[in-house]
């Protein structure tokens, strides 16, 4: 078996084993339960949630912000590393593109879940006001979905053509589908030229679109003039947070795929070391913004903001706040600063810490501010003074997370997670370099 065949054999999508099947069924069950809860929410209205007059954005919006942040991984790893010619990105980019697409699609769906009347979705477009950050969000999310899809699809074309050929005899049905999706890719000079040009355009576009997406997401909050949100720092703060969430998610998913698909020869310790350095850089930048966001107001905060900060630092939200800061940010920085911490398994643990911390961080950003309005909360039931998600909210949110995982799982099942053509090309290039050197 020659080298190309070994690569092909290693990288072509494979049928799930027992664990993969159980995992998929598990996700489907969570999605079905969440779907039932959502139907009930649509029928009964949002009274089934614990969102009320004050906490009118709950975990749905926290979850939406988390998905938006995670989708930033596409811009970071694919576009930035590509434009800066970092060759170590090769085995990671496809996974990053998949995560990016899954996250942004789910961000779009989550925002619809938060709407009490999803049947009025079209009104967001029909009656859009360009002054409203909501409208900007309505525009940027579909734009990001389209671009993330193209970012995944263009580089896939050669691999889809390879898969068509590979499965021609063993699985003709698959071969037919891969053939259709490969858009008659033959690797002709013209096709390659169009593809390369298109990828370059996407790589250039995805960075401003990613930054716009994160900034608009931040402006949804900072333009409301609310305590905790009224900050000129917010756009940059969200971008750095998204950098952390996205790379954290990438590390976690890469580790699992590497283990399940036995890709140790392709995704090596070297790659983990590199992405670990990228993650620690992201965490340090985000840590800096956190200091700006929380430490300076401790000195300068007016009374209302002081109450809000106290609730975060030592009050009702202190456990979640410190969890997101310590587990989601400070500990990862400490671990990743050591070379041993950038080995695959420690990196996986760090990735999980970062993802979970990032999710709760969004909760801390969204909810406490809503419960600290300028005018005192009066004349409402005691329960409206606090917010903790209802069972419906948990089930639906779990379903959205499961749905994102399912999208990733399905893509991992049917697409080559490490680019076949590019890996083969790079190995050939190495061979040529060695010949030249000798």
């Amino acid at each position: 078996m020659n080298n190309y065949n070994i690569i092909l054999n290693d990288l072509v999508p494979k049928k799930f084993g027992k664990r993969g099947t159980i995992w998929t069924i598990f996700l489907i069950v969570i999605i079905v339960v969440g779907l039932i809860a959502y139907i009930d929410q649509v029928n009964k209205g949002q009274v089934v949630t614990n969102m009320r007059d004050y906490a009118l954005w709950g975990i749905y919006i926290s979850n939406f912000v988390f998905f938006v942040a995670t989708s930033f991984v596409g811009s970071v790893t694919v576009a930035i590393l590509r434009l800066t010619n970092n060759t170590w990105r090769t085995p990671l980019v496809r996974i990053a593109e998949i995560i990016s697409l899954a996250a942004i699609v789910m961000a779009g769906l989550t925002i619809m879940i938060d709407m009490a009347r999803p049947d009025r979705l079209l009104n967001l477009f029909i009656y859009a006001r360009l002054q409203s950050p909501i409208t900007w969000d309505v525009i940027i999310v579909p734009t990001s979905i389209a671009l993330s899809f193209l970012l995944l699809y263009f580089p896939l074309l050669p691999d889809l053509a390879i898969l068509k050929k590979h499965f021609k005899k063993t699985k003709p049905k698959y071969s037919k589908w891969y053939g259709k999706l490969s858009l008659n890719w033959t690797g002709s000079k013209k096709q390659k030229s169009i593809q390369e040009k298109s990828i370059k355009i996407i790589a250039l576009m995805i960075i401003p679109v990613g930054i716009l997406l994160q900034t608009i997401d931040a402006w949804l909050f900072s333009t409301t003039y609310r305590i905790g949100w009224d900050s000129t720092n917010m756009g940059a703060y969200f971008i750095s947070g998204a950098f952390v969430a996205g790379v954290g998610a990438l590390v976690t998913v890469v580790y699992i795929i590497r283990r399940v698909r036995k890709l140790e020869n392709y995704i090596t310790d070297y790659h983990f070391d590199k992405i670990g350095k990228l993650l620690v850089l992201a965490c340090l930048i985000y840590f800096y913004f956190n200091i700006n966001e929380y430490l300076i107001p401790i000195f300068t905060a007016p009374v209302q903001e002081d109450i809000h900060l106290n609730a975060l630092i030592s009050g009702e939200y202190a456990p979640i706040f410190w969890f997101s800061q310590i587990v989601g940010l400070i500990l990862p920085i400490i671990i990743l600063l050591f070379k041993k911490g950038r080995k695959p398994f420690p990196m996986f643990i760090v990735g999980l810490m970062v993802v979970v911390g990032s999710w709760w961080k969004r909760y801390v950003i969204v909810t406490p501010t809503l419960l600290h309005p300028f005018l005192p909360i009066e004349g409402v039931p005691e329960s409206w003074h606090h917010y903790f998600p209802s069972m419906h909210e948990w089930l639906i949110t779990a379903a959205t997370l499961a749905m994102a995982s399912l999208i990733i799982t399905i893509m991992v099942r049917y697409l080559p997670v490490v680019p076949i053509q590019r890996t083969a090309d790079e190995l050939d290039l190495l061979k040529t370099d060695k010949i030249t050197e000798s």
């Binding site: 006001r129 002054q131 900007w136 734009t143 858009l183 890719w185 033959t186 002709s188 593809q195």
Partner: protein
Amino acid sequence: MKNLLNYRFIFLLLVSIFLFSSSFQNLNAQNAKKNKVRLKADYVKIMNEEVYFNIRATSRIGKKNTNVSNIDVTVYNEFDDDKVELGTITTDMKGSSKFVVKDFNSLKADSTNTYNILISFKGNEEFSKASKRITFRNANIEAKLITKDSINYITAKLLDASKDSLISDASLTVQVQRLFQPLFIGDEFNITDEYGTISVPIEKGIPGIDGNLNIEVVLDAHDDFGTVKAIVIAPIGTPIIDESTFDKRTMWSPRNKTPIFLLIFPNLIIFGMWGLIVYLIYNLFKISKHKNIKI
């Protein structure tokens, strides 16, 4: 057969329990103690405008004062052992109601020129009956604006209408009408002199719509005369310049008044980006058409 009998017995037993418990409930309901309603009423007269009674109903329920809403209270004019019904009014959600006297001249005073008003609640299933009696004498305030040595003054004369005599040593308040709280002018207490008058200078520069100030002279909750208010419209204020952005293109306008820069730049970005996306999709189409040319 035995089982069947048992089922019948159980069925009858359950029905009996149900009937017994419901009758027991009714008994309890009949014996439930009714809450007492407290009525409060104030007489208010606005010169040349209206006369009304501010009525408020409260009740002490569970050691808490609660507003009693949606109850009917009837207002009577009592005089010389006679009682004339003036009308009925229902309390609002805050337990308040404003009963406007249609024709003040139809009210009859007693021999001491005192008006006696009875406010009565008949009672209902929840609250026991209650009543409140208020008395007042008719007073008038004559207020006007004068200018002396370029200074504007509001002068007012307080009169006992029944005797056509002046009222001295009464405290009047002078204020400008405002949306939430009135703006007080002059001293806190302006005591009427032996001629029943007061004179209060009005400082310059008080803003008013079209330069008009609605100045009120108020005899507030007097023991004998209740509340009497005279309103003078004085064109001596500083006109309020309307700074409304209602018809301008602002960030808070409706969508047909979007600022021009916001129409141009975001649309340029949107169409630029979607133009490129369409171009990229077209590239996919082009790739699929170039299958036959192979290197």
